[in-house]
């Protein structure tokens, strides 16, 4: 099929982009080097502060623009870093040891606070609003603490005139300017690396990530801590440079301004927020002298206009115009097509064949209630390695709910679930996945803007940690996943974004992703729905092969009785939340009760629905 043909140029394009970015970084460094000789002292003076703000805005862009964590609290970490310097230098005087001590204290306190904030915001079950509210409260708390500190913190007037580094304005300009360039380039490599794709995946479909074995809360807390440390370093620089600190620098007004600057510059573009912050802070410094109060009003109006007219911010509009003009201006760090991808086979997992004949899944008196209605009640069954246990039953019998209760410890209301002797207790999905459980979803649950290769690489997260600084051009898949990918022609669409796939190909990708996890226990919820007869047959043979060769235990929900009959070793019939029948394929297919509640006119000898 004539889908997006980007594969050929992709790789060259990606390499070009690296040269572009490094080239741009060198030009920026050269400008910064020449800066003090080009600009007057006042300009240089203001730009140092703008650079420090821009570094903080950069952390907001990575958190919000790429990972979808809306934060108003980066100002609090900026403030913690600044006050660490100011308090130390005011009360203990300035020396190299004290400067180091203040630095360590600022970094440590902000990291600890970020970890706590992250834990409150992202613990299992927290809604995505938590983080916005918690990070809004944080700067308010920090400012209140500063107010109540009396003469120690300087209360509302802050601390002034402490001794700090004996550096010229030019030196500060060079240090902060080059740090900003290094930070921006580092950020660019991060968001364009494989790990950056994981961040985008978290933004798009966090729940699916957890079922791929990705500890989403931990990753987001880690990211918050790193962002907090960078903001604290910027704050430390700010206090040491200006030798003035006031509670306003930790306030939620500044925190919100950072978000506004990011939105104005172009959320999710890195360079946009950096340039936007520098420009706005610089211009406002000039204008605030001439138009003290009106300037705030102007920024407010510009913000409203930009949000309405240019919802993506300035940078995407400028680059699009540039591209339109020149046709070759392509360095904008937007979502990229990953280049050509080389497929290769993974080594067979070490656990191959271990599970044969052992009890792989053991479920005892499992129950699930939503309010007053009972969905599952007293479900008992076991399944061993190298078995394909099909779960059939009328629509609404509780089949999908059963899978949900097995793949996450937090779902069920009663009963116990063991995989190869390990109790899942109340484990979250990513920990259940770590026990060797893979689950596919009935309704397609993918990552829209990730390509096929990136989706598959995401599924390999647990087995092959993604790089922080580069994008892998190889994709290593286990044989089963590879067969699905090749058979459904997904290998010709590795660089296509998932949202452009047909429904059937999305289903196939879903299946390939679960197989790429190399699970020992596999839960499949209608894996062949939307696929053709030929594709179903092929997937059936892959599953049979997996159970025979690798002693995988497969739990399968399917309505295609013919398919179920061909590949199952046993069938479990669910009806109104209870196990109605647990028996051999023959027993179930010939059962009168199954025919009356479920199958209708299926003839047992052919399994064909009537014509």
């Amino acid at each position: 099929m004539a889908e997006m043909s980007v594969t050929a140029t992709g790789s060259r394009f990606a390499r070009n982009r690296v040269f572009w970015v490094l080239g741009l970084a060198c030009v920026s460094l050269a400008i910064i080097g020449a800066g003090p000789f080009l600009f007057d002292t006042y300009t240089v003076n203001i730009l140092v502060r703008s650079f420090l703000y821009a570094a903080t805005a950069l952390t907001v862009d990575i958190l919000w623009g790429y990972t979808g964590i809306l934060t108003f609290g980066q100002s609090a970490f900026f403030g913690i870093g600044a006050y660490a310097a100011a308090l130390t230098f005011t009360h203990f005087g300035f020396s190299t040891e004290m400067a180091l001590l203040a630095l360590v204290a600022g970094v440590a306190v902000s990291a600890a606070v970020a970890a706590i904030v992250g834990w409150i915001s992202f613990w299992h079950g927290a809604s995505s609003l938590y983080v916005a509210i918690v990070t809004l409260a944080l700067p308010i708390i920090v400012v209140q603490l500063l107010y109540t500190g009396g003469t120690f913190t300087g209360s509302s007037s802050g601390l002034v005139g402490f001794e700090a580094f004996d550096l010229s304005v030019e030196a500060w300009f060079w240090i902060t300017g080059s740090a900003l360039v290094v930070l921006t380039v580092g950020g660019w490599f991060l968001v364009n690396s494989d790990f950056g794709r994981v961040l985008v995946a978290l933004r798009e479909n966090e729940s699916r990530c957890t079922y791929l074995g990705i500890n989403a809360p931990r990753l987001k807390i880690l990211l918050m801590v790193v962002a907090a440390v960078i903001a604290a370093l910027a704050g430390y620089g700010y206090a040491s440079y200006t030798v003035v600190v006031a509670p306003e620098i930790a306030s939620f007004v500044f925190g919100t301004e950072l978000v506004i600057w990011v939105a104005l510059g172009g959320r999710g573009t890195l360079i946009g927020p950096v340039l936007g912050t520098v420009a706005i802070d610089f211009i406002s410094a000039y204008l605030s002298g001439n138009l003290p109060y009106v300037w705030k009003l102007i920024v407010g109006i510009i913000f409203v206009v930009v949000i309405v007219a240019l919802p993506e911010g300035f940078l995407p509009v400028i680059t699009r115009a540039g591209r339109w003009l020149s046709g070759c201006f392509r360095h904008a760090p937007k979502i990229v097509q990953s280049g050509s991808v080389a497929l290769s086979l993974a080594e067979p997992p070490s656990t191959v064949g271990e599970g044969a004949g052992q009890p792989a899944v053991s479920v005892k008196s499992l129950g699930k209630r939503y309010g007053s209605s009972t969905i599952l009640d007293g479900v008992d069954f076991t399944a061993s390695g190298s078995e394909i246990l099909s779960i059939v039953g009328p629509n609404g019998a509780g089949k999908t709910t059963l899978m949900r209760c097995l793949s996450s410890g937090t779902e069920r209301s009663a009963g116990t679930v063991f995989f190869y002797g390990a109790d899942i207790g109340r484990l979250p999905p990513y920990s259940v996945t770590a026990l060797g459980v893979g689950r596919s979803f009935q309704t397609t649950s993918l990552f829209d803007t990730l390509t096929v290769a990136e989706c598959l690489r995401l599924a390999r997260f647990r087995l092959q940690r993604p790089a922080f600084w580069r994008r892998d051009q190889r994709l290593v898949l286990p044989p089963a996943a590879m067969r699905v990918v090749v058979a459904t022609a997904l290998d010709t669409q590795l660089t296509t974004e998932a949202r452009h796939l047909s429904h059937g190909q999305k289903r196939a990708l879903e299946l390939a992703m679960v197989l790429a996890l190399e699970p020992r226990v596999l839960f499949l919820d209608e894996p062949t729905a939307g696929l053709t007869k030929q594709e179903r047959t092929l997937i059936g043979s892959i599953l049979v092969d997996l159970t025979r060769r690798e002693a995988l235990c497969v739990l399968l929900i399917e309505h295609d009785l013919e398919f179920v009959r061909e590949i199952s070793t046993r069938i479990l019939v669910l009806h109104q939340g209870k196990v109605l029948l647990d028996g051999s394929v023959q027993e179930v297919v010939e059962s009168e009760i199954v025919r009356s509640i479920y199958a209708g006119h299926v003839k047992p000898e052919t399994g064909e629905t009537r014509l």
Partner: protein
């Protein structure tokens, strides 16, 4: 007999990719038509193009006697038709009843419609206050069919409705569609993977292959099924 849907020489696609090439297709009044084909061959794209979600690069589309080529989808939807896409057809956060009220405001006609539909699918009446998102996959499909049948449109276009339904309900569905056609004279376009079901209910069929119609004809009997399967194999 007039045509409820007439597609003439339509080409369409996404971005630079052309998915459909010069496709022509007509559906007569009161006809049940099955559009078959493997994955990624352009079946859903054809539906989206007919309803204006995708702009046709060339060709003309007539729906219920009106030229709708290039018309906005929300205007196309004002015609007497019901369309259910493959993904996201229901509003998950709304109740069953609210999903039905989106096509028929509350009143006597809604009550009568719910009564009639619950004859086919008793769960509709039982679950009126339940959120659609909490229904199982198969139950959601039943709600989709119910909503399409509720307003008694002249044309129903449904994308893969049998996916996820239990076999006995698929059997019943064939009866339901035929009975509704008998009663109201509705025309139905089914996009299907389940060949057995599609041929058990359709009058005519077409097979899409790489964006072109590879075969089409009247459904006559077992020989049709054989030739369709032969086409889908390659």
């Amino acid at each position: 007999m007039s045509h409820v849907l007439e597609i003439r020489g339509v080409s369409s696609g996404y971005g630079e990719a052309i998915i459909l090439r010069d496709v022509s297709l007509t559906i007569a009044e009161g006809e049940i038509f099955a559009l078959l084909g493997k994955n990624g061959m352009g079946k859903s794209t054809l539906l989206k193009t007919a309803l204006g979600f995708l702009r046709a690069r060339s060709g003309a589309i007539h729906l219920l006697g009106q030229d709708v080529t290039g018309r906005e989808p929300y205007k196309v939807a004002r015609l007497s038709l019901a369309y259910s896409p493959q993904e996201g057809a229901l509003f998950q956060e709304l109740t069953v009843e609210e999903n039905l009220r989106l096509v028929q405001p509350a009143g006597r006609r809604l009550q009568a419609g719910i009564e009639r539909i619950s004859e086919y699918f008793p769960i509709i009446r039982q679950r009126l206050d339940q959120k659609a998102g909490t229904l199982s996959g198969g139950e959601q499909k039943m709600l989709i069919i119910s909503r399409a049948l509720l307003v008694e449109p002249h044309l129903i276009l449904i994308d893969e409705i049998s996916e996820g339904l239990q076999p006995s309900v698929i059997d019943r569905l064939a009866d339901i569609l035929r009975r509704e056609r008998q009663r109201t004279g509705v025309s139905i376009l089914l996009v299907e993977q389940n060949v057995t079901f599609a041929l058990s209910v359709a009058d005519r069929y077409a097979i899409l292959k790489i964006g072109e119609i590879a075969a089409a004809g009247r459904v006559t009997g077992p020989e049709t099924a054989a030739s369709v399967h032969a086409h889908l194999r390659i």
